[in-house]
């Protein structure tokens, strides 16, 4: 009598493992907190979940109605890197370099990077967007009545970012948009563009080309170094807008730089 009772009791302990559902193959429910994103200046969010290869990455485009709220996403149980991109519109994914490239049309990019451990039932990540661009306004004035074909050009060493948030991509040449032509009230040209965060503070340049007296003139400036001298480091996120004031004189150009305070309404309208 003792042995059968003992066997039955041992079986009880063993079969208790067969009662609860095996959830090891179930997804982890990742709560992505988007409450820190202000819809005033980020109107599109893309979430990229990847391990090491962007070709295996899981992309989720977040609808505008979820911005400012918390999104619950079922993900495979694993550890992975999460990149949240704001305003990713014209940029393209380069699968060879595992990066996002803006080329000559930089988006007003925001980004947030996280390492997520999604190995159990639930996980949580809070997206804290960082601004990865600097609005640049170029004003050209002075002896502008005697010049034609004024064209500023911005050069950037890096035109995008990899999935770890580091500047990546090739040299980019950006043609700022003409937003104001001289009139009776404001006798100057205004051009607007964006500078993306660069690998180092000196990796940006400004070139001004114009024609005067039938001759084409071209002047180059180490814009990145000049901004650094004014206290603006283009390798850091959340940089302030800059205004480059070029005054054309008799055979020379006077350049001054002003650093402004960040204002959200400047961002969305910059398009090409």
């Amino acid at each position: 009598m003792k042995r059968p009772v003992l066997i039955i009791m041992c079986v009880c302990c063993a079969i208790s493992s067969c009662i609860k559902e095996d959830r090891s193959d179930c997804p982890c429910y990742l709560s992505v907190d988007l409450s820190q994103i202000e819809i005033e200046y980020i109107d599109k969010v893309d979430l990229v979940m990847s391990a090491s290869d962007v070709s295996e990455a899981q992309w989720i485009s977040v609808e505008r109605s979820f911005i400012g709220d918390t999104l619950v996403v079922p993900v495979k149980r694993r550890e992975f890197d999460l990149c949240a991109w704001g305003n990713l519109k014209g940029s393209q994914v380069d699968t060879h370099t595992n990066s996002i490239i803006s080329a000559d049309r930089p988006d007003s990019l925001w980004s947030s990077y996280h390492h997520v451990s999604a190995r159990c039932e639930d996980a949580y990540v809070k997206v804290t967007p960082q601004r990865r661009f600097i609005p640049v306004t170029i004003i050209v004035r002075g002896m502008i009545s005697s010049v034609v074909d004024i064209e500023p050009v911005l050069t950037q060493v890096s035109s995008g970012f990899d999935f770890n948030g580091n500047p990546a991509g090739k040299l980019a040449v950006t043609h700022p948009k003409l937003t104001h032509t001289p009139d009776s009230e404001a006798d100057y040209y205004t051009f607007e563009s964006l500078l993306l965060n660069q690998p180092s503070a000196t990796d940006a340049g400004l070139e001004l080309t114009y024609s005067s007296g039938g001759r084409e003139r071209r002047t180059s400036y180490p814009l990145g170094r000049m901004l650094l001298e004014e206290g603006e480091d283009i390798s850091l996120a959340n940089g302030n807008p800059v205004v480059v004031d070029l005054v054309l004189g008799q055979g020379n150009i006077f350049l001054t730089i002003e650093i402004e305070q960040w204002q959200a309404h400047d961002v969305i309208d910059i398009t090409f």
């Binding site: 009772v5 009791m9 079969i15 959830r23 179930c26 619950v72 039932e121």
Partner: protein, 192 residues
Amino acid sequence: MKGKLLLAVIALSMVSCVPALASGANGRYLLSTNIPDWATLATINCEFQGALDCHWSIAAGVKYNPFKYFCGATSQTHLRQVTPSAGVRYWFGGAFDGWYAGVSLLAGEYSVSLPKSDMFFEGFLYGSSVCGGYLLPVSDRFALAFGAGVALAHHNTTFYQGPVCGRRKGGSSGIAVFPSDIVLSLVLNLGR
């Protein structure tokens, strides 16, 4: 882990009753199975009793239900459990004769998914139960038992939104009082 530990404790307490059974005054043993448990989604159950003296007996049993029904991509129905119990009973007339009352320890692991509901919960409980009933002999070997039991147990339950990889919705724990048995058992007399 804690659940398996408690199940092992109850199993050991049941095994420790065996010497008492072997030296029981009457050498009488009963083996029974409860019909309402079988009707509850085919819960396999059995209980063993051994007389200690003229009025006292020990009882040890287990309920086991591993089955799932109407399994679909997102839903299923089941009342899975493994619940061993062990305790003593007092027989007012004589051992295995007439009215009885008893108390038991119990522990159990459960997983419940109800039909037409997207709620699903699992958990573990441990506690004790009291029971009472009447044994009615119908022949030399067979009898019918009628009775009921109430349990007081501590439970730890987790709720999910659906049984098939549903999202965890929260949990609850605490003391619960619930009917542990509705007894309508077929009883087999194994002893003299």
